[in-house]
Symmetry: C2
Subunit: 276 residues, 2 copies
């Protein structure tokens, strides 16, 4: 049985989890709560200098764990695919300025692009960005998304697909983000987590919970313990595969966003220590 | 390229697709529209004698393609699991009385039952029902459901899992129902359809479409052509695997149910002939 978590030093919170807070509020409140890390969503950098934000993060005692999100490569038009690549190059600049070692990729999908073609666009997009990422000491992490997002958010929907794509591209600057929300249902999950760890590509671990019923396909994720995902078991698999990084709480929730965010942050910490 | 469909002789409609209609209205309206088959949902038999319904179906020139739905085997309590088995035995009686050769299984899942355990419940439940089904010349068909239903509707979420389960149980009375809505995203779909056909277990083919955005996880399916599923391509795979049965239109849609059902049936036929 996986050991319980004893403290919040490896807890990382995504800025989107506490959506009502600005980047400054998030940094100050996470630090005050004793949280160890922050993953910054790009929207939170709008109108900010990422160098200053990175400095604020470090001076607050937090670690900048990753930048969310790159990707969104597939599109019918070549010009749109090039725009996506250009945007990912800018994301590399932002991550480097912020001091975040990793960009999480939501690879993209479109109802107008057949999945096999979308997967080619994704591979081509990643390959176009990787040299610049590597040169800037920023890794890219493919995050396989739940199959319910295969129409519009990601054509990479299982950890096996992500592992296969990493193996095909075979770059030291490319890895994988494992998110329990997207992958918990997969009967091959334990096996593919082992494979991911053995290849040295397991670079991020995201947690939250799956609610029954789920009332919104995007913004009805639960706090750890509110749903049916065996989070601790999956954390055990990830740790057995050699992962020693942060446990990142990434919750999109209209319900929790409507609450007092200080109360919500307390609940996150409680759920992290007891149900993760 | 898969040949277009030329007529409605192999079109089957599920009674739930035209939810506002009673079983009698569905039979009469499908027959009048020249549709070849009907799949009866069990709720439509409430207060009816299934022998009489079966007679009405045959006398209208329709084929009773299958009975929906058996399954729902997993539960924490043994007594509940036995109730599910008993209910499936009653479904066999109903299918036999109706003259339907197949029962589609929504295998079941529960947020209170870990997936590996739920899968054992499913196998045990199917094995408990199979002898009675076989003796009554009724086949059971495992329908793998989309992973977004893994919490509460089915712990069997890919065609590979369904094929593996069929291979493990290995009964001539057990097969598989392939539904494009649940499986279209799967990169192994073509390969597993081949495997399913080669094993002689490909017993049903369900069609509809995936809408972007999908606004309801259960009741926002689209008409063929309204979404992003490559239906004709998948039909080609199914036919190449030896399937010669009905193409069953199974659409749950608050939007379409609110419309005039005669108009909707005309749209189904148009979409069937042009986008399937």
């Amino acid at each position: 049985m996986t050991e319980p978590i004893r403290d919040t030093s490896k807890l990382c919170v995504h800025t989107i989890t506490t959506k009502p807070w600005s980047i400054e509020e998030a940094i100050d409140n996470y630090a005050q709560a004793g949280i160890g890390g922050i993953t910054v969503w790009r929207q939170w950098l709008e109108g900010r200098n990422p160098i200053h934000v990175g400095k604020h993060i470090r001076e607050s005692g937090l670690t900048a764990v990753s930048l969310c999100r790159g990707g969104f490569f597939p599109a019918s038009a070549q010009s749109e695919r090039q725009q996506a690549i250009d945007d990912n190059l800018r994301a590399v600049d932002e991550a480097a300025a912020l001091g975040a070692p990793l960009i999480v990729l939501v690879c993209g999908a479109s109802p107008d692009v057949p999945l096999p073609e979308a997967r080619k666009h994704i591979q081509a997009g990643i390959e176009a960005v990787l040299p610049y990422a590597g040169a800037n000491k920023v890794k890219l992490a493919i995050e396989p998304l739940h199959p319910m997002y295969a129409d519009s958010r990601s054509a990479i929907n299982t950890l096996k697909q992500a592992n296969d794509l990493c193996a095909a591209i075979n770059s030291p600057a490319l890895g994988v983000a494992v998110d329990v929300y997207h992958l918990w249902w997969d009967p091959n999950l334990e096996q593919e987590i082992k494979r991911c760890g053995a290849s040295g590509r397991l670079d991020a671990f995201h947690i939250c919970d799956w609610l029954t019923p789920t009332t919104d396909m995007l913004n009805d994720r639960g706090l750890m313990g509110e749903g049916c995902i065996p989070i601790r078991q999956i954390r055990g698999w990830v740790e057995a595969a050699g992962f020693t990084g942060f446990n990142e709480v990434e919750i999109f929730s209209n319900h929790h966003w409507a609450a007092d965010q200080h109360d919500f942050l307390n609940k996150i910490i409680h759920a992290y220590l007891n149900n993760s």
